[in-house]
């Protein structure tokens, strides 16, 4: 069958008409995603953490990470601000916010940093092969067998958590906190860091319960906490939640919108592709341009 211009335009029109007949709702076309309702979470009480780095040590052990350069009982590493990396899925940072203790000494606030396991993870949204997925138990899980190493997740993460094994040229992986996926999938399993914490600065449980617990703690001791559960609303909610004595902005937490990151990106992206309007208009534009130019050429030929 010969496809001439007339026929092509006709077919396009038919397709457009068929698309318009479906009339799906715009929002659901962009965001059909629902966070897992029964997810686990961890509530970190920064006013309790003593900065002992046992969570780092436990994380290292349960994930079989390489021996650190400086031992875990060396607390001088806290002098620098660190980020999680391919060899440490969680780190403790120390902040001096100006608060003074009863001895008039600068009181430190220790902040545990790791993957927040977003309810609506941007990394999973950005991953083009589905290597990163939000699991029903709350973990944002990384499947190395699917990963192609594009590192879109690293760009996408609002907390800049995923790290890449740049030192490994052949089989590099994206590394980040696993939420001890295997451990918490078992009955009674706890994440390594939460289990080892000597003061239970980390409480492990159902996310919904933890939010209740956090609110309860605030109600019981309002002077002790900022009236905010960090992670309850940030980027649509995270499985890891924080409560703090100090303003979150002072202890290294980013101010983030309550809308999940994928909401914007996926809306744009899905919007572009809904009803195929974007490619269709592109082809229509190209077709129109071609038509105009061809006509001009035809006319020119005629003139010559």
């Amino acid at each position: 069958m010969e496809l001439n211009r007339r026929r092509f335009l006709g077919l396009t029109g038919a397709a457009l008409g068929a698309g318009a007949l479906g009339k799906p709702s715009r929002a659901s076309a962009a965001r059909a995603y629902q966070p897992p309702p029964d997810a686990y979470g961890c509530l970190v009480d920064l006013s309790v953490c003593v900065g002992c780095r046992k969570c780092e040590q436990a994380c290292n052990q349960v994930n079989h990470l390489p021996e650190p350069e400086r031992p875990f009982d060396d607390l001088t590493v806290l002098d620098d601000k660190r980020r999680p990396g391919p060899e440490a899925f969680t780190v403790i940072n120390r902040y001096y916010t100006g608060r003074r203790d009863e001895r008039n000494q600068m009181a430190p606030t220790f902040v545990k940093v790791q993957c927040m396991h977003c309810q609506d993870p941007a990394c999973a949204s950005a991953c083009i092969v589905g290597a990163l997925t939000k699991k029903p138990n709350g973990a944002v899980h990384y499947d190395v067998s699917k990963c192609i190493g594009c590192r879109y997740c690293m760009v996408a993460c609002p907390f800049q958590i995923p790290a890449y094994e740049y030192h490994d040229p052949l089989t590099p992986r994206v590394r980040k906190c696993t939420f001890c996926f295997e451990r918490i999938s078992q009955a009674g399993g706890k994440p390594g860091c939460a289990q080892v914490c000597p003061v239970e600065a980390i409480t492990f449980g159902k996310r919904s319960e933890l939010i209740k617990l956090a609110k309860q703690k605030m109600a019981d001791d309002p002077g002790r906490y900022q009236p905010q559960v960090y992670g309850e609303k940030e980027v649509g909610g995270t499985s890891w939640l924080y409560i703090s004595r100090e303003p979150f902005a002072k202890v290294g937490f980013l101010k983030l919108p309550s809308q999940p990151m994928p909401h914007l990106t996926e809306t744009i992206q899905h919007g572009i592709f809904s009803y195929m309007w974007a490619p269709l208009s592109l082809f229509a534009l190209l077709g129109g341009a071609m038509a105009v130019f061809n006509r001009k050429r035809d006319q020119g030929e005629d003139r010559s």
């Binding site: 309790v48 939460a194 289990q195 003061v199 159902k206």
Partner: protein, 741 residues
């Protein structure tokens, strides 16, 4: 002979001659050397020394009581058993404020006297499941209650809702495993303990908050970490240890156990010096001093091969890690091999099972001081490997390792002694037991706590020393050398004579000498002038009746006779051990040994001993070479007694020192007679020497003794209850004749 043959022979001869000439020209051996030059000293041969010793490495001390039954640290085992119980979980607690609770209880508030468990171990399998990095914590329950002045509710913050539940229900009843979904917000046991302890310590600004201040770190399994070939030597082991523990070597390098000298803050006129110690200038009245006797003395050095004055203390490869960190109990040093161990030991196995030191590691040297078990220290001997509770309440009852009191940081071990100037920190009983250690909150405790200002704890809490094994109290070197004299066994089975060493006296269960002591020590060191006409105090505690910093301390008095330079008036160092030493010279002589030979042997020993002493103390102006004339002087050393504390009920009682309380009239002179307290019983109970005698202890002289301390000798007019104390007079003399009732 053909011409050709002649030519060949000539050439051959010339060649040989030229060759010989060249060889002679090059050779500059004994012909060139001066005959007077001494031959270079032979390097110390540990293999030969071990062979000469002829005995196999000793087996680990058996973990049994003297009667052969298995040894059990009773208090520790009981506390651990209790700690490992898991009672049913308390779900509901009574909802009330502390004020409501006090109102509810009224007079029924729990009291100190209600406390059932004065000693606890904070341990539970539930906690260990959640992380097993540290050892369990010993917890002085009663002491904490005393410090909190009986405010039990500071820790026991809630009562279970059940009516019959105790007001002081234990932690584990409510706090069990963490993150129980049924009880959101309820802390697990581990967190509850940590928060309670650390929170309170921080709030009250007292008590430890660091991990290793309460816990000992668990040593990781070294079986996979230690990589050694089969049958490694000791030096290979050290190299392997330092591969990971270079810091430890750096720390040990400046530590007393390696240097055998160091800071001496408690020595009079030595407060700023760092050069004093066994390595250089200390002297005693046992085997006298180190110089010239190295290989024998340094068998207790935490290093290998300190056999002469030239030992290199910067050579970390010579450090002996295993002597302190072996946990197999098999590691052992040859007693005469300059610190080298028995080379037939399985060093690989030992290196792979390293851990924290135990009483065995420390004891192998510190119990054996002076050349044998119990010789030197009056309060430390082989009994303490596995002592009974009645012998030492800490080590026997609760299985304390040495470093639990002698806190160690960076291989610097705290603690001090009278015998040696080096101190890397100081420890006292009060560090744990506080200045008010008698915390029963009773009438008697008030009086006992006032004793703390004037008495060191051990003075009452261990009224005899060398309780279970006789220690040497007299050593007369002037009698040495008589090979013909047959040693006799005394009533403890100890020999009264050894031709190598002289005459001895031994004593078991000895009443200490008491003296005022403020922590400072006067010492006679190598090169110090002495008065040879008097008894020379080599170490002497400083203190006095009027000195508020002084307290009455118990001491072992070690007396003996040793040699002094009759001209230079210096204590002499004899060269005893090794070729040319006193022992070797006499050993070669036929029995009976003539006086002249002994005299000559001594002279030879002193020449070498003093020469080597000068070598290791080049800046000591007082040291002089041996003059050629020696004399025997009587010397005395005070040895502090700090170990072998007995259970509280075995401490000296009131009436055993205070004669004024020995009869019928006791507390009632000042206090109204109270029906529920038997004053006489209170004042008259104390150390039960009758019981000790029945146990086979040599204490018959001490039974029924009053004025145990001898107040007059200490500077009091008499019993302080009657005549008043040293710093203030109590108005008690007037009441002394008051009638009771």
């Amino acid at each position: 002979m053909s011409a050709r043959r002649k030519k060949f022979l000539t050439v051959w001869l010339v060649g040989v001659l030229v060759g010989l000439g060249l060889v002679l020209y090059a050779y500059q051996g004994p012909v060139a050397a001066t005959p007077a030059a001494p031959a270079a000293p032979k390097p110390f041969d540990p293999v030969a020394a071990a062979k000469k010793w002829q005995q196999p490495p000793p087996p680990p001390p058996p973990k049994v009581n003297p009667d052969g039954t298995p040894w059990v640290p009773v208090d520790q085992v009981a506390a651990l058993k209790r700690a490992h119980e898991v009672p049913p979980l308390v779900v509901k607690t009574l909802e009330e404020t502390q004020r409501e609770r006090r109102l509810r209880l009224g007079d029924k508030m729990p009291k100190m006297a209600d406390m059932k468990y004065p000693y606890l171990v904070l341990d539970n399998p539930m906690v260990n499941k959640e992380g097993d990095l540290y050892e369990a914590v010993r917890f002085m329950h009663k002491k904490h209650a005393a410090v909190l002045e009986g405010q039990c509710f500071t820790c026991h913050h809630a009562k279970p809702a059940a009516k019959d539940a105790s007001e002081t229900t234990r932690c584990v009843a409510c706090h069990q495993s963490s993150f129980n979904p049924e009880l959101p917000g309820r802390l697990g046991l581990k967190a509850a303990l940590h928060r309670q302890c650390m929170g309170c310590h921080e709030k009250r600004k007292q008590g430890p908050v660091g991990c290793t201040d309460c816990h000992a770190k668990k040593v990781p399994d070294h079986r996979k970490l230690v990589k050694l070939p089969d049958k490694p030597g000791p030096l290979e082991v050290t190299k392997e240890c330092l591969r990971c523990h270079q810091d430890a070597a750096n720390h040990l390098q400046s530590a007393a156990h390696w240097q055998w000298k160091g800071p001496s803050p408690f020595t009079v006129n030595g407060e700023k010096r760092i050069d004093m110690g066994k390595a250089t200038n200390t002297i005693n009245n046992f085997c006298v001093a180190l110089p010239s006797n190295w290989p024998r003395c340094t068998s207790c050095h935490a290093g290998y091969g300190w056999s002469n004055a030239e030992f290199d203390f910067n050579d970390q490869s010579r450090m002996d890690c295993l002597v302190c960190h072996d946990t197999t109990g098999t590691y052992s040093k040859v007693p005469t091999a300059a610190g080298w161990p028995f080379l037939e030991l399985d060093f690989k196995k030992i290196a792979q099972s390293v851990g924290h030191p135990s009483r065995k590691n420390c004891g192998d040297c510190h119990f054996q001081g002076g050349g044998g078990d119990a010789v030197k220290h009056g309060d430390m001997n082989g009994i303490l490997y596995y002592p009974s509770k009645s012998c030492d309440v800490h080590m026997g009852g609760m299985d304390f390792a040495c470093q639990e009191c002698h806190k160690t940081r960076n291989h610097k071990i705290s603690g001090r002694s009278l015998s040696l100037p080096v101190a890397e920190g100081s420890r006292t009983c009060q560090d744990c037991h506080t200045n008010k250690p008698h915390n029963g909150n009773s009438l008697l405790d008030h009086h006992l706590n006032r004793h703390v200002e004037h008495l060191f704890c051990v003075t009452c809490h261990s009224p005899v020393y060398a309780k279970c094994r006789a220690t040497k109290t007299w050593w007369d070197w002037s009698k040495a050398g008589r090979k013909e004299r047959k040693p006799k066994k005394d009533r403890y089975g100890m020999p009264d004579y050894d031709w190598k060493k002289g005459e001895f006296l031994w004593k078991e269960s000895m009443k200490p000498a008491y003296a005022w002591y403020n922590g400072k020590v006067e010492r006679v060191l190598l090169g110090d002038k002495i008065d040879t006409s008097k008894v020379v105090d080599i170490t002497k505690p400083v203190g006095g009746f009027r000195d508020p910093a002084s307290r009455i301390y118990p001491f072992k008095l070690m007396e003996g006779k040793q040699a002094a330079d009759a001209v230079n008036k210096l204590l002499l160092v004899p060269h005893l051990y090794g070729p040319g030493g006193f022992w070797a010279t006499i050993g070669k002589t036929k029995t009976p040994v003539p006086d002249k030979v002994i005299d000559q042997a001594w002279n030879k020993a002193f020449v070498k001993g003093m020469a080597e002493s000068i070598k290791v103390n080049p800046n000591n102006k007082g040291l002089k070479p041996y003059s050629g004339q020696y004399q025997w002087v009587q010397t005395r050393m005070y040895w502090g007694l700090t170990h072998e504390t007995m259970p509280a009920k075995a401490a000296l009682g009131c009436a055993q020192c205070h004669e004024s309380l020995a009869k019928d009239k006791t507390c009632c002179r000042c206090h109204k007679d109270e029906r529920h307290v038997d004053f006489k019983k209170l004042a008259h109970r104390g150390t039960d020497f009758e019981w000790m005698k029945k146990q086979g202890r040599d204490v018959h002289e001490l039974i029924g003794k009053t004025d145990y301390l001898n107040f007059k000798a200490l500077g009091y007019k008499g019993d302080p209850i009657v005549y008043g104390g040293r710093l203030k007079k109590l108005p008690l003399a007037s009441t002394i004749d008051r009638e009771c009732k």
